[in-house]
Symmetry: C2
Subunit: 220 residues, 2 copies
Amino acid sequence: MEASPVRPTFLNLPPEKRERIIAAALAEFADKGYEQASLNAVVAASGIAKGSLYQYFTDKQGIFLYLFEVAVGVVRRTLLTVKEETREADVFTRLEKSLLAGVDFIRRHPRLFGLYLRILYDQRTPRRQELLAAVRRFAADYFASLVRQGLSRGEIRAGVSPETAIFLLDAVFDRFLQGVAMPAFDVTLGLNQADAREVAARGRELIGLVRRGLAPPETV
Amino acid sequence: MEASPVRPTFLNLPPEKRERIIAAALAEFADKGYEQASLNAVVAASGIAKGSLYQYFTDKQGIFLYLFEVAVGVVRRTLLTVKEETREADVFTRLEKSLLAGVDFIRRHPRLFGLYLRILYDQRTPRRQELLAAVRRFAADYFASLVRQGLSRGEIRAGVSPETAIFLLDAVFDRFLQGVAMPAFDVTLGLNQADAREVAARGRELIGLVRRGLAPPETV
DNA sequence: CCATGATATGACCAGGTGGTCACATGGAAG
DNA sequence: CTTCCATGTGACCACCTGGTCATATCATGG
């Protein structure tokens, strides 16, 4: 077990103030990454004193880890909802809907996705491996369960190795979502400026290619 | 036109010393990113005085941009070689060989790939859009020319949209290479610890899936 | 009205940063 | 041996960082 990074004082705060601080910290950490994030900027943006921050949290790491906890909660709830809502469909329909749900999530919570990217790419983020393992469990479990379904129902060819299929899905999904979030990633599709209809069409097309790659010949 | 970031003094240096400095700077910038990189660390690692660094380069940006120039040169030469060597083969063979050449490049020049990742993910890198555009041109042109070949020779189905195909290739390639370079990315395939034979097998399998996705039914 | 304990505050600290500059060194030309 | 200029040097500067702490403020219960 480990000490909580957040002090009770913080949880006693009026919700409006609490959320102002969370929003300011999230913006700072997501925009600049762990090390580059400035606590002075956080206190300035949330209108509290430096000392107060240290009455709410143990230290910089504490603030960061608390943000991560909050983020994980949001992601978990979202993922469960999507899985539930597509329960009945075939694998490729589920994948397509999941992809669009991912786009929706990023549009709704761009900072949370930004925080994830930071952890992914800032090698000096504290407890990075541990945090990534947590995120990874979500994605890998999700794809693994879909691929399992696909194989057992014959929607995916028997010869396909599950690991390679998961790798392909993970690569395509992550890149698509990063393309939506960051123009620099999206060399060709213009996802960042596209409207919902266009993104949906591109997603469908992409899942179509993946489907041909994975499904038995007679079904495509 | 713009002022060169490197001063003539640097180019007059004995090559051994020049390369020591380049190596030290590359290590620092690739490991920590632009803002987090410490020039004090660079001078310590290369055994020169702080002041000397400022006789060789205009400023921190200058050092960074010079490193990028050096890196682009290496990448350009490598890419030309691969394109040349696979000239005769069909699209999917060319892709497979290109993927393995990419792996080889990363194993040979891990810091250069690290520098690329930094530019990609550190939003505060100076002139980031411009630098990424340069890298992007390489990859997009490369894939575009292969896809064009594939479509014109009938190795890729006529119905496939070139942009979507390029997106798929870009996603799969980049993720595969990042998986080789950084364990955190590679959820399922274990590329980071795999030996050359294993990586080749995984690459072949992955290109196989992509091929099924892109090629006309009768050829797979 | 006071006392008490929780909460709020910002000047302050040590340590690191990118960048500067007055001076030291070296080697070649006269 | 002297002059001269390119090159080398590290103490120093202003600025910013995460973190501390003595003190002020506030709300509540007696």
